[in-house]
């Protein structure tokens, strides 16, 4: 794993929804090596543990990364206080990202809630071969839909309460598309129940599926064994670590 730790300038900050922020960070050496599905580990002033946040955009030319995160507790609230021009302390890029296979002709990318950001760079990688399904609680929680559309992908929006897009869960359109056939791969990030549902549909339909998991982390690089995740590899139980072996896993490897 090639990563660095450093203080990088925040080139841009926008509030994109209630308590959800988008940072564009100037970090050429990180952007140069970052892949979709990887994450950055951000220091929050006054807190012992860093906060893992997925990479939501990689601009190798400009040397920038984009992250989108929600204030969930004290650490993310502290990070959200940083402004354009401030330095952000990151350990990055970390983890094992999504498998991008140029031979695939049609892939489905599914993001649920604050799990949508990591799907954006992957959608960009697949462009018009991708169908990007996003699910949110309600219309006011919807984020990144313009960005997804700009990738050239087909986009499908769902909300739990029907206040925007389709009324229902992301698994509904997925099921329909999966049953129609012709899907090479499904990638997903979001809450556990959603991921389980997605994995089950893919299994049923024999579609390759990768999911991005979350776990509480300390080191972020595989040294502390803090972020264990039970998986199966070569028919043997394998205690994987989300920060190093993941966050992206093949769905069939995960012991739920």
């Amino acid at each position: 794993m090639k990563y660095t730790q450093g203080q990088y300038i925040i080139a841009d900050k926008t509030a994109i929804a209630r308590e959800i922020y988008s940072f564009t960070i100037s970090c050429p050496e990180v952007a140069a090596v970052a892949c979709p599905g990887q994450f950055v580990h951000i220091r929050a002033k006054g807190y012992t543990l860093r906060r893992p946040i997925s990479i939501c955009g990689i601009d190798k030319e400009k040397g920038t990364l984009r992250i989108v995160f929600e204030i969930r507790g004290e650490g993310t609230a502290e990070i959200a206080k940083l402004n354009k021009g401030d330095l952000i302390d990151m350990l990055a890029p970390l983890g094992h990202g999504f498998t991008v296979d140029p031979s695939y002709n049609k892939v489905i990318l599914i993001g649920g809630g604050i799990g949508t950001p990591p799907m954006l760079p992957l959608t960009k990688a697949y462009g018009d071969k991708a169908v990007a399904i996003s699910g949110f609680r309600n219309a006011s929680a919807v984020i990144l839909q313009d960005d997804f559309r700009k990738t050239g992908a087909e986009t499908i929006l769902c909300t739990d309460d029907g206040s925007a897009g389709i009324h229902g869960f992301v698994t509904q359109p997925l099921k329909e598309l999966a049953e129609k056939g012709g899907i090479d791969a499904v990638y997903a990030c979001g809450p556990m129940p959603m991921l389980k549902g997605v994995a089950a549909i893919c299994k049923e339909n024999g579609i390759f599926c990768q999911i991005s998991l979350e776990e509480r982390m300390a080191c972020g690089i595989g040294a502390c064994l803090g972020c264990a995740c039970r998986t199966v590899r070569n028919d043997e139980e394998y205690f994987a670590h989300v920060c190093k072996d993941g966050p992206v896993f093949n769905a069939e490897e995960v012991l739920w």
């Binding site: 012992t48 690089i221 595989g222 502390c224 803090g226 972020c227 264990a228």
Partner: protein, 303 residues
């Protein structure tokens, strides 16, 4: 440039700073950031006779100025360590402390015996892990058990034997005296303090193990007190740790009586912490005109 080298039970350290067991794996992950030979030593992840998968996640929780962990001694077993990790570490210019643990005194001795034919520099016997049901903390909380397991390991090894003590006791000085009498060449302290956090929204403990070991800056004053008490109670050297996150902290712990200092949780906040601590110690010593770090060990003048 002050002289930062220290000698602990006959082993030379180029500087007194050692990443603590469990936070630094076997060093490989951090090599991406700096060469390991900037460090005085490394205490490797606690290793048992056989592979252990550890506890179920979540294993990490945050606390004010600290953290809890309940990794539960996940490790690939001593054979894997000896075959795969140790040879690599021994190519580096630093002292390797093999941290070992076991569910019974016998198991601890068996693990130590396996290390006898290796070139590992020191053994750090962990009698204080709060995250495993058997052995672990139980050994470290009674003088008799602590002495018993130390004796058994002592019997099978001529390597410098460091016994790592638990802070979750009424008198850590008494435990230290017991392991000294049982043949320990040094003691290291403190391991983590047993703590708990609850997610009030789910009504569940954050850690799947319910409780976990607390470390980080929050515990530093307890570490200073215990190092001071133990250094005054035993004649063998003390390796201090617990919440150290700066050169000043390391100096404070050495003034309290530590001959070397381990750095744990601070590495999660800043992976360069051990390297920066070495630099900060050097700068401070220079600014005071103190020629050698040995001149500060145990120098605190109580009122």
């Amino acid at each position: 440039m002050a002289d930062l080298s220290v000698k602990v039970c006959g082993v030379d350290f180029k500087n007194p700073i050692i990443p603590a067991s469990g936070v630094f794996g076997y060093g490989r992950e951090y090599e991406e950031l700096f060469p390991l030979d900037k460090l005085g030593g490394i205490a490797t992840k606690g290793t048992t006779l056989h592979l252990r998968t550890g506890n179920i996640a979540p294993r990490i929780a945050e606390t004010p100025s600290g953290m809890l962990n309940s990794v539960g001694l996940q490790n690939p077993g001593i054979d894997h360590f000896i075959e795969t990790e140790l040879p690599y570490l021994l190519t580096k210019d630093l002292v390797v402390l093999a941290n070992i643990a076991g569910s019974t005194p016998d198991e601890c001795a068996e693990v130590a015996a396996k290390l006898e034919d290796t070139d590992v520099h020191m053994i750090e016997l962990n009698i204080s892990c709060p995250n495993v049901k058997q052995g672990g903390a139980a050994f470290g909380t009674s003088c008799e058990m602590a002495a018993e397991v130390t004796k058994r390991v002592r019997a099978v090894t001529k390597k410098p034997l460091v016994v790592k003590l638990s802070p979750n006791v009424t008198s850590i000085a008494d435990i230290a005296k017991s392991v000294e009498a049982a043949g320990a060449d040094a003691v290291s302290l403190i391991n983590t303090l047993l703590g708990m956090r609850i997610d009030i929204n789910t009504g569940r403990p954050i850690l799947h193990n319910n409780v976990g070991g607390m470390s980080g800056p929050a515990v530093f004053p307890i570490a200073v007190r215990m190092v001071w008490q133990v250094a005054n109670a035993v004649k063998i050297p003390v390796i201090g740790m617990g919440g150290v996150s700066s050169g000043r902290d390391a100096i404070e712990l050495m003034m309290a009586g530590a001959s070397a200092v381990q750095v744990g949780a601070a590495i999660f906040t800043d992976p360069y912490a051990p390297v920066k601590i070495v630099e900060e110690m050097n700068d401070w010593l220079d600014s005071k005109g103190i020629a050698s770090v040995n001149d500060i060990i145990g120098t605190v003048k109580p009122w």
